[in-house]
């Protein structure tokens, strides 16, 4: 059997972009426009990783890193999907690991995402990596489901309310 390979999305590879868009549009309840992809891909190309098998794109993860209230660096997992027929083989787990490692290397203090409370596979996947549920968001999705905000703390900055981080920054300067 051929191995699944993992790599970042090739810039300008329209075929891959098209494949991942189709996959996400089939699997995620929220509709995303091309501008959402541009937002992520043009600013954090290294954080868009795909899984391929025999040339076919079968899994994707798209992330970003941005400062949160100027006090901590927050990695964010925006989208994750694995083609139905390839689920249950650890592909998502690998994609998430690759992204988290990259985000840790880039200096993230925490990694965050939102997922529907009814999405048991995704919740289990992230919670097995150490994410905890920090908030429940009321009717967060267009389909009216509540969401959980999940956070994986990387550094201790993640464990201090941002107002206090702001204060300590002011004290330090």
């Amino acid at each position: 059997m051929t191995e699944v390979t993992y790599h970042t999305l090739e810039a300008g590879n329209d075929e891959e972009l098209h494949a991942l868009k189709t996959m996400i549009s089939d699997d995620l309840s929220e509709p995303y426009s091309i501008y959402v992809y541009h937002f992520f891909l043009s600013q954090w190309p290294e954080l868009c990783n795909i899984a391929k098998l025999n040339g076919e794109t079968i899994g994707v993860i798209i992330c970003k890193i941005e400062p949160h209230r100027d006090v901590r660096s927050r990695g964010y997992i925006g989208m994750l999907a694995v083609k139905k027929e390839h689920r249950g083989h650890g592909i998502a787990k690998k994609l998430v690991r690759i992204s988290i490692e990259k985000m840790i290397k880039a200096g993230c203090d925490e990694i965050m995402l939102e997922t529907e409370v009814v999405n048991k596979p995704a919740i289990a996947l992230y919670e097995h990596m150490g994410f905890i549920r920090s908030k429940r968001l009321y009717r967060y999705y267009l389909n009216q489901h509540d969401a959980f905000r999940l956070i994986l703390p990387i550094t201790s900055k993640s464990t201090v309310r941002s107002v206090y981080l702001q204060h300590s920054d002011q004290l330090a300067t």
């Binding site: 541009h38 988290i100 150490g130 905890i132 429940r136 009321y138 267009l142």
Partner: protein, 727 residues
């Protein structure tokens, strides 16, 4: 080519040549993030311009005559769509998707200043000659007007800041003015005229009768703003509670009738093309294309919920004390409500003029709360020093605005409640710091000595600070416990969270004990006056006696407050007992190895997870967050000393007997329990606690094997104490 047009073909070609392949072209004023909210042309899920419509939709005629049954089916669908919208759909897929609504709104928006006369479906001649034309242009039109007025009212509530736009109520109106220039009286008249018309022209018809029900219900709903303005004075012991307002009782009767017709209404065919996605295509739509919501998703049960809510809100007219207001608010927060009732409750509770129920200032309400807790007959109240009085007033003013924030949590959705409470922890903590400084200063600067003997020592009473600190800890407890309700904790976190509950309750019990002692010391001091009296003579004796009698009159109140605080203690002990029982059960799982913190790949150490979880409490001065090592130490110790069946029975029986004390108090309308308003809800609350106690108790008797796994069973149990099963 016209003069206003400029040919840019060349510029465009030139510029396009400069653009590199695969580069994003954007103006520097524009961030890519803004682009994420844009819709995309030709994307099926986003572009409502490419929605395909059926012939019936394309050719739908809003002007032609309709039968009574068609008008009834359409009116019912429009009305139900208002409630579907309020379950957080958008107007475009609900009320506005009706062609009659769309047509009327479009025509009205062309000339809104003309008010009701521009509310038409279009121009038709000789309407008055034909009853079936009148059914459309008079009756159906009035239903559309009534429904739109109701929509407008809900939009106003949605935008009033007491609930969240988009999250609680979707307020996007496709840029249409929702008949804001039409007077409600004009609409009421149209609705009532339609009722009269149906009565005279369609007297003996079931369809007419149901249609009249819809019209009359709309009339009552349009009157809802009057409810918000009702003043609700406090009851005195001898006054009888006011009757339910007429609009609420009529509404209740109408809705009860309406729901009996739902099956019949569901069986009526809809006019083909009458409800359509077409409006998303034709008008200003900023949302992705969305399917219409099936009509059967609403069967008027949410209208029933709304009416029940109004009755529950009105139940506050039975209040005697500020404690009743607090408990009523807490009960409101704990129970499920229609979003409109949540908005109404907030506006009904705290009015625009910053009064509670339109009759007392928030600061008076707060003062009563503090008096009933710790401040009754204290030096701050009795002092004749005007400066001190002024300073105390300033502080209570500051506390009032925070108390207002506390009140405004109660109508939020459950997720927001926890977030707001979490934010209030720091607000109250700061307030406590300020208040303590203030009270210490009173002694040092003004020699107002508010001291009493506690545990053999003379200590500062700090009555105001005690109240602030107590409320803060109670809020902290809410934040922890609501985490269970919102399913925020994974099972491996349960033990740690119940341990923290236990810790918080310990601290709450300490402060309650201190305040009770302080109140008792005031009673004792008054009782001691008798001895002093004996030593006085003549005029002095007379004056002292008068003073003593005045003070003695305070004793019953003080005693009542002590009793009230003791009942609070009973309630906290129930929570604490259940937390302990739950911990004992979890310890069994931990010991047998089927419950443990997993080995996480990216987590440095377990402490960081603890700190993240406890982030809301980390900044609090008192009670300070115990370090993770304390928790570990506690866990290790508890695993070493397993509980005997006698221990467990003792915990269980004291929980159950404490629950009984409270439920008896609710049933006998005991003022120290103060749960006589919405007493059924409270009884349910405590019965659920009882079920959790019994459920956990039964689970504790089951043997555990190392191959089992833990599963949470929350059904039927109290939301703070689900039963953790093994299977």
């Amino acid at each position: 080519m016209s003069e206003q047009m400029v040919d840019i073909t060349d510029v465009l070609r030139r510029k396009a040549r400069e653009v590199a392949n695969d580069a994003v072209v954007k103006s520097p004023q524009f961030s890519l993030f803004q682009g994420t909210q844009a819709l995309e042309i030709n994307n099926k899920r986003l572009d409502s311009g490419i929605i395909e419509l059926s012939v019936e939709e394309e050719e739908f005629d809003v002007l032609c005559k309709r039968s009574l049954q068609e008008v009834l089916a359409t009116s019912d669908a429009i009305f139900r769509n208002v409630f579907i919208w309020l379950q957080n759909s958008s107007l475009s897929v609900t009320v506005f998707s009706c062609r009659y609504v769309e047509e009327l709104l479009v025509i009205y928006n062309k000339d809104a200043n003309k008010g009701i006369s521009s509310c038409r479906f279009g121009a038709v001649e000789n309407v008055s000659m034909d009853p079936e034309l009148l059914l459309v242009h008079k009756v159906l039109r009035s239903v559309v007007l009534g429904a739109l007025h109701l929509v407008r009212l809900c939009l106003t509530l949605g935008q009033s800041g007491v609930v969240y736009e988009e999250e609680d109520i979707n307020t996007q109106t496709m840029n249409l003015n929702v008949i804001t220039m039409v007077e409600s009286n004009d609409i009421l008249k149209e609705l009532n005229d339609s009722v009269d018309f149906l009565k005279s022209k369609y007297a003996d018809s079931k369809d007419s009768e149901i249609l009249q029900l819809i019209l009359k219900t709309l009339v009552q709903l349009i009157n809802l703003p009057q409810f918000i303005a009702l003043k609700v004075p406090k009851l005195t012991d001898c006054s009888t509670p006011p009757q339910s307002p007429a609009m609420v009782s009529s509404l209740a009767a109408l809705v009860d009738s309406l729901v009996t017709h739902v099956d019949y209404l569901n069986s009526l065919p809809q006019i083909p093309g009458c409800f359509s996605m077409g409006i998303q295509k034709r008008l200003d739509n900023r949302l992705p294309s969305r399917d219409l919501i099936p009509l059967k998703s609403e069967d008027y049960s949410s209208l029933k919920v709304l009416v029940d809510d109004l009755q529950r809100i009105w139940a506050i007219s039975n209040r005697l004390t500020s404690q009743d207001v607090v408990n009523h608010a807490l009960n409101f927060a704990n129970t499920h409500h229609h979003v409109i009732s949540r908005a109404i409750y907030a506006l009904f509770l705290v009015r625009d003029d910053a009064t509670v129920f339109g009759v007392e200032k928030v600061s008076d309400f707060l003062n009563e709360e503090m008096l009933r807790f710790s401040c009754w007959d204290s030096e701050y109240i009795n002092t004749s020093n005007e400066i001190v009085k002024q300073k105390v007033a300033e502080l209570t003013h500051q506390i009032s605005s925070v108390a207002l924030e506390w009140l405004s949590v109660m109508n939020q959705n459950p997720c927001r409640q926890r977030q707001h409470f979490s934010r209030l922890i720091t607000v109250f903590d700061t307030l406590e710091y300020n208040s303590e400084n203030f009270e210490r200063n009173l002694k040092e600067v003004f020699q107002v000595n508010e001291e009493f003997e506690y545990n053999g020592e003379l200590v500062l009473a700090l009555p105001i600070t005690s109240w602030v600190c107590y409320v803060k800890m109670d809020i902290m407890l809410h934040v922890v416990l609501r985490g269970f309700e919102l399913e925020l904790y994974q099972t491996w976190e349960f033990h740690q969270m119940y341990w923290y509950v236990n810790y918080l309750v310990d601290n709450i019990l300490l402060i309650l004990d201190r305040v009770i002692e302080y109140n008792r010391s005031k009673i004792y001091k008054i009782q001691q006056m008798k001895n002093q009296l004996k030593k006085k003579k003549g005029d002095q004796k007379l004056r002292y006696k008068e003073k003593m009698m005045k003070r003695q009159a305070q004793i019953p109140s003080l005693q009542l407050f002590v009793d009230t605080l003791n009942k609070k203690i009973v309630q906290y002990k129930i929570i604490q007992g259940l937390a302990v029982l739950q911990s004992i059960q979890l310890q069994k799982y931990i010991k047998s190895g089927i419950l443990k913190t997993p080995d996480f790949p990216f987590v440095q150490n377990e402490e960081i997870l603890y700190k993240l979880r406890m982030k809301p409490f980390a900044s609090v001065g008192v009670p300070s967050l115990p370090p993770y090592s304390h928790y570990q130490f506690h866990l290790k110790n508890s695993l070493k000393q397993p509980h005997t069946p006698q221990d467990i029975n003792h915990v269980k029986s004291s929980i159950l007997s404490n629950i009984k004390i409270i439920t008896d108090g609710i049933q006998s309308k005991d003022v120290t329990v103060s749960m006589h308003i919405c007493s059924q809800d409270w009884l349910h609350w405590f019965r659920q606690l009882q079920r959790s106690c019994i459920g956990i108790g039964l689970q504790l008797q089951k043997p555990i094997t190392a191959t089992q796994r833990v599963v949470i069973d929350s059904k039927g149990f109290h939301r703070y104490f689900p039963v953790v099963n093994s299977e």
